[in-house]
Amino acid sequence: MSRGNARAARRARQRRRRERRLQRRSGGSQALRALTTSALALPGLAERAAAAGAPVDYRADYRYARYSEDAISRSKVAVGGETERYEIDIHQFRLEAPIGQSFDLGLEVAHETMSGATPWYVTPDPNGGDDPIQVMTEATIDEARTDVLLSGNHYRDESVLNAGLGFSIENDYMAYNGSLGGERSFNEQNTTVSGGIGFSYDLIEPEDTNLFPERPDREDKQSYSLFAGVAQVLGRNTQVQTSLTYQHQRGFLSDPYKRAFVENSPIPDDRPDTRNQFAWLTQLRRHFRKIDGTLHVDYQFFFDDWEMRSHTIELAWYQTLFDRFRLVPSFRYYSQSQADFYAPFYVTARSDGHAASDYRLSPFGAISGGIKAETRFQTWSLLWDVNVSYQRYVSDADYALESVDVENPGLVSYDLISAGLTLHF
């Protein structure tokens, strides 16, 4: 085989297996997802709302979404580098069924296929400019991920118990998680207290370790999470809830597919092997009868022991029209500070050996806006909900609450288009 062909073949091999960090749900977050999906009050239609108690209907949901990141601008990328970023096709499926007198079971499956290039490491501008440059990986052709979550609820007089089990699988990655939780109501169901615990185990076996011997062959991590919340009805049209979530992670928390530029050479991404995170989320739902609209306001404050802090505020307005259509504009503002060991690149190595130039650990703000339209209709004894939505997300160091000295060149913006179908039967 000629040298040119060998190189092409190697690049093709590299292209086939790539970074999937962005696809990887942390086990902890998936465990929480188990908590939230099973602790939910079942939504129904305005016309025939399902109960907050044991559901009486079967419900099936399907949703397709296409996620596409903006290409990274040429000025931010190393010369000759890939500028096209990630594109993902997501299929989601969910089924909920009442079982016997006081149980229900839920199954949620997500399958994604993705392709594209992702950030690899950041270097100073070789032309001597102020702004650092992003070195991208080569584009992948086809990656896939499957996520399964099984959850169940047990309804008692004034309380509900829930449990969840899930797993996630990709070419180089596997995770499983479990959760247990409960909620109890007081005060004629005006006050509800919820709590739960979650656990997850993630195993990664990075690919291309023969090409990149710095990559570990096999690493794992565990996450433990605790959740407590209280929901309060404030009036006929208002309810509010606030909750605290704590997550402890230990193990391999670095990204095996990323590098950091330290003292003029790229070295493997190195992060601490423990992390403690706290999130305080408050949500308000307020209905306005006269205009048939409902306001959602969500605010979250987050902090961890990597010195990161973030604020999130989400607003959505649900406008019902003619009793069967709904239009939902939404807005989100997000701002995070950086991890203490983060830097775009390192002139001298840190004494603790940590190094990470991942934009996810950098300081930035993000603004996103979306619009969703849905309608419901009935055929025989089946109730259908159909929806389409579009969301645009833009991140930028200038949007952050605190001033940022150096923006990470890898910050991402994306479009998300989706369509969904729900069936009650």
């Binding site: 108690g53 007081f186 004629e188 606030t242 022991d305």
Partner: protein, 174 residues
């Protein structure tokens, strides 16, 4: 980090206090078994007047429902079925609808009609008198107008138990 832990502690204390105050708040006094059912009189969907006392001498199944309540929607046809199992002269099913808009109840019943009358109570006076604590709630009232059974919530699998209780009340007395 220290300050944040302090704030967390503060938040937890507030949560605990909130809980305490919530559980102390008064709830509706529930009707006790063996007490006479509160009398009421309200217009039905068809315009006629429904008074509970008119049904003395029959076993009455009184069901509180609303169009926005999922389990309530399930209970209506189930109760209609139960009604058909017993003679009209002995057993009566009555419903009280608590929708804020009477039209919502009318629309619901137009789509899913039942063979028993529904009294409309948009102001919610009647459920107060009966001490309704959850939706739906139904009351089994004997021939002398005394509450014998309170059934909270509804699931299709509740029907056999309800049937047994109705049969027991029909057998007792007369």
């Amino acid at each position: 980090m220290q300050r944040r832990i302090q704030k967390l502690r503060l938040a937890l204390v507030a949560l605990a206090l909130w809980l305490a105050s919530a559980s102390l708040a008064s709830t509706a006094p529930a009707i006790e078994l063996g007490q006479p059912a509160p009398a009421f009189s309200a217009p039905a969907v068809d315009g006629s007047q429904i008074s509970l006392t008119d049904y003395r001498g029959k076993v009455v199944f009184l069901d509180f429902w609303a169009s926005w309540c999922g389990p309530c929607a399930q209970s209506l046809p189930a109760l209609d079925g139960l009604r058909g199992e017993f003679p009209d002269s002995e057993f009566q099913v009555l419903a009280v609808n608590v929708d804020r808009k009477r039209e919502a109840a009318r629309t619901f019943l137009r789509r899913r009609p039942v063979g028993y009358p529904s009294a409309l109570d948009p102001s919610g006076e009647i459920p107060v008198r009966f001490g309704v604590q959850t939706m739906p709630t139904s009351f089994l009232i004997d021939r002398d107008g005394v509450v014998r059974h309170v059934h909270r919530g509804f699931r299709p699998s509740d029907v056999p138990e309800l049937r047994r209780k109705i049969q027991a009340l029909l057998a007792a007395g007369r």
